[in-house]
Symmetry: D2
Subunit: 341 residues, 4 copies
Amino acid sequence: MALLGLGRAGKFHIQSIQSIPGINLRCVVDVDESLAKRLAKDLECDYSTSAEGPLGQADVDAVIVASPTHAHYGQIQAALEAGKPVFTEKPLGSSLKEIDTCFGLAKRSGLPLFVGFNRRFDPSFSSLARGVKEGQVGVLQMLRVTSRDSPLPTMDYIRTSHGIFHDCIVHDFDMLRFITGKDPVEIYSVGSSFVEGIGALGDLDNVLVALRYDDGLIASIDVNRFASYGYDQRIEAFGSKGMLQAENRSPVSTVLSSDEGVLRPTIEQSFPTRYREAYREELTAFSDCLREDAPVPVTHEDVRMSFILSELGEQSHREARPLRVSEHPAFDDLQEKVPEA
Amino acid sequence: MALLGLGRAGKFHIQSIQSIPGINLRCVVDVDESLAKRLAKDLECDYSTSAEGPLGQADVDAVIVASPTHAHYGQIQAALEAGKPVFTEKPLGSSLKEIDTCFGLAKRSGLPLFVGFNRRFDPSFSSLARGVKEGQVGVLQMLRVTSRDSPLPTMDYIRTSHGIFHDCIVHDFDMLRFITGKDPVEIYSVGSSFVEGIGALGDLDNVLVALRYDDGLIASIDVNRFASYGYDQRIEAFGSKGMLQAENRSPVSTVLSSDEGVLRPTIEQSFPTRYREAYREELTAFSDCLREDAPVPVTHEDVRMSFILSELGEQSHREARPLRVSEHPAFDDLQEKVPEA
Amino acid sequence: MALLGLGRAGKFHIQSIQSIPGINLRCVVDVDESLAKRLAKDLECDYSTSAEGPLGQADVDAVIVASPTHAHYGQIQAALEAGKPVFTEKPLGSSLKEIDTCFGLAKRSGLPLFVGFNRRFDPSFSSLARGVKEGQVGVLQMLRVTSRDSPLPTMDYIRTSHGIFHDCIVHDFDMLRFITGKDPVEIYSVGSSFVEGIGALGDLDNVLVALRYDDGLIASIDVNRFASYGYDQRIEAFGSKGMLQAENRSPVSTVLSSDEGVLRPTIEQSFPTRYREAYREELTAFSDCLREDAPVPVTHEDVRMSFILSELGEQSHREARPLRVSEHPAFDDLQEKVPEA
Amino acid sequence: MALLGLGRAGKFHIQSIQSIPGINLRCVVDVDESLAKRLAKDLECDYSTSAEGPLGQADVDAVIVASPTHAHYGQIQAALEAGKPVFTEKPLGSSLKEIDTCFGLAKRSGLPLFVGFNRRFDPSFSSLARGVKEGQVGVLQMLRVTSRDSPLPTMDYIRTSHGIFHDCIVHDFDMLRFITGKDPVEIYSVGSSFVEGIGALGDLDNVLVALRYDDGLIASIDVNRFASYGYDQRIEAFGSKGMLQAENRSPVSTVLSSDEGVLRPTIEQSFPTRYREAYREELTAFSDCLREDAPVPVTHEDVRMSFILSELGEQSHREARPLRVSEHPAFDDLQEKVPEA
């Protein structure tokens, strides 16, 4: 495989790739030549400063897009056009149209386009989703997703993040779909900003989303840009027969009892450690798509829907009112596509 | 003291009273004479089939109103008029006007009127509230209250309960005020019904409430009429410096490890055991009001506000839109009263 | 009932009695007349400065012995001779002979003699014992009891305590018998002293006891006079099909997550709160013995055996070798009595 | 590196090696040629059916001995004589003399000889050891190690395992030394057998070891060959200022609340998953010894002492008496060597 982008995301993909027998890196790409050169040497592979390099190499079977967000769309298109299957971090692009274009291209060319919604591959979250599907909680009535980031991203990052809905909550919308297999009919968001700088950008750092499904299921998502105690990622599924929760994880299992109380270690501090297994699993799944022609587990509809809900969530906050999902301009379009999903 | 009403609430008040040195029952009252007679014998006290009995007794220092909801208002008035301090389960009455009438009477007569919002006296919840006040979580940003009832009440109970907002969520609104010491500016509710019969009554059994405060704090309340695994009562306070949670409690602390997993006992199954200490504490606090002239910890404003939010929550669900608290007809009135609180 | 002794033990028995409907205090006894007088006034009962007072009262149905250890034997004898059933804190006396004398007297007079091994009545420990009996862990192979005291008793208390085996570990020996229903064949102890003063008295504050049963079961008891983090009382039963543990309890269920970790409150700090329910349950059980002629749940054999093991444990440490239980001088005697148990 | 032995241990070493950048496999060795051939193909390395193969290869920098126990001693000697640093699973050999011979050879040749006491590298256990060293629990008074195997090994394995002391408890003795940095003065063991077949072999499957240190510290080790609920590996360190525990770990963090209780998933089921990080860490540490001349963290004295305690533990059980460590024939020898450690 070739890896485009050697920043934060690129680096933990390298780690994952190294631990998956059967995936080998042929080429790493970054505009920073010295970085690319150095990593290529460590990894005993080629390097390039432009995506075109590996796209022309016959022994590159697939491309991993881990470059900055704004470059995704162009690189995905180029890779698919060069006949290479693509694994990409979200987002695919900055509009529904770009998403549709990429998937259209993938469909026409018969190549896998794999969007890395990593949480689907987290062992605890996928175990919870399986439990819900198997009926462990009976009829699902209330589904709650909590996502609090850590550490606080830089203002540079925030500035180009497309806002908390498209940068963060899109993952939570996808989790709802992953767990329930269905879409809400109404969405309401309320948000605020506590971090100096974020409010100034017109962005939010503290958001609650309420979603209603037509069968009575209610979902809530609560998100914060910064939890001082670590990367807080939990899900709770309540139903007629019980409740399933996925709790936070800690790197060590020690407990200190003293006259101050019973102290357990801090939870995982950030996504590379919290989702280490998930990143490994999603690349393994991508590898299975390549070798065994397995269907891509994250569909075009999945990607569209989380994008649409992000847009609606943002709009609901802006207009301070609940929105029906059917109000979204792409809704009719969506209805038609559902059978295809 | 005299106890009016020997139903479910009356019975656990008897238990509390027996365990508090310094409170003695002089008289029990119930329309069911044989029940009143039997309990009076066990408790070595008088009995009556009407509230007027003890109200005329000079050695009755105070009255506990634990009768059916519809009788509260009349009995509270009669007791205050007879010069007896009153402890009452919520609700005081069925309208703001009745609430104001009772508190007005209490104020004029200089008698304590104590509304039993029991959760304020729960050791875990009051410890959480104290921690928030002491700044353990820094600036409060997200406050979540989860209340799921168990066992499922009878349809007879539901029918006369005034609906899930006034019967259940009123407690959660009061918890928000107890913890934050302030009121929201906007409220949005979404609800549904899964239990056959409840929907038919036009009532809800599954509700999510989102509340916005003018300083950016967001609160959520999620409520269900029936949790199969027990009486689920939790609070989570998230802030700039950390998170405080109050978790469920179990009557025993055993853990069974087997090839099926690690099994802890079910949590407390219902309010009499879950809030046993809270019921004892609130009666002790009432007793302190009588003996030491301590101020009543639940104020007129507290009771008004939880009632107003219950009305607004209900209306928000009905109209499927967020409501500003200032839209409530009593709002101006409320603003004036705040200084007095 | 009459209560002999108004010290630490006496005071929490008062609390228990007040919360049990159907047990009333008729008389409290203490050599400290002003204390007895004051409490009698609060409790609306009689008082006396000598045990003989209530023993002559016809309306005293039973006697609770909560006086200092050295007075137990004489008061128990006197009470039984006066025809009063007796509830007593351990120890009955300072020798097997005194134990046998008391139980002999009780047997001849047909009066209940109830030794308060409170832990048998703790909801978590009795639930664990029930689980073991019901086969939840299969064949029991390893049983571990941890008992760490808190706060550190005074040196005055330690000096008259008869040593850690008779004062503390006797409870743990009794727990083993309560859970397993059988006796070990071999015992080995190793102990040391860390607390200044305790070693000087020739006593121990840190002890590990290993016990072997003839069916292969092994038990361990580890005890310490002082755990800085609270009153640490745990049991673990391991068997062929699983493991049952009874864990410590905390008075509140809050959890604080911060950058220092995940902090739960300290566990219960001492026996009056940790075993509050147990003290209440054992008095209720005593009351059932009186009213319903229920058999006394702690038998003569139980009391003998925990005493014998305490003697052997002490001797094993002194002689630094394992001892066979059959080496104890009372063993033959014991064998004869077993059928009677 | 070359890997000798492709059985159970060999296979997870392969997994570890693949995830450590900077360690590459040059050759795999197994008497089963087809197995060696197949794995070599997957791993893109050489293979051999005899240890001599890689020992003669100049590009093999070090050797990992993961062959059956009886072959360790010969292969370690051969590798050291061929000038190759050695990483080996315990045991080094079947006697103190063999251990001394190997370390003597390593010392003379200046080559690292690294004995894989994996638990020292487990993040939770090493965190606990660090906490004890930093004084988090004050003066250490009681140290408890629990090790219960899962799944039950085959009888073939047990037969050649050298008994539970040398096969299992040796790890626990090493943990005590790792945590305390000192050695006990007295040891007592009591054991039994519940698994059919193990008793017939004269081996034990249920053991409790009590150890006394000359400063008053007491340690206990309790071991079982089979825990039905998973691989149970815990440590508890109790001291004057608190208690540190290392608890079991689960692969997922879900919790199911139902009317049967609150169910968490089973703990890790066996050593390859429970100690995955530890195996990776120890190979990384070995790699650091090679590259950076870091001292080997497990010393000759460490290996001797755990072997000596295993012999004494076995003897104590056989003779049913506590043994002083100074009774061991190698003790004087040991005393001399201590300064060198």
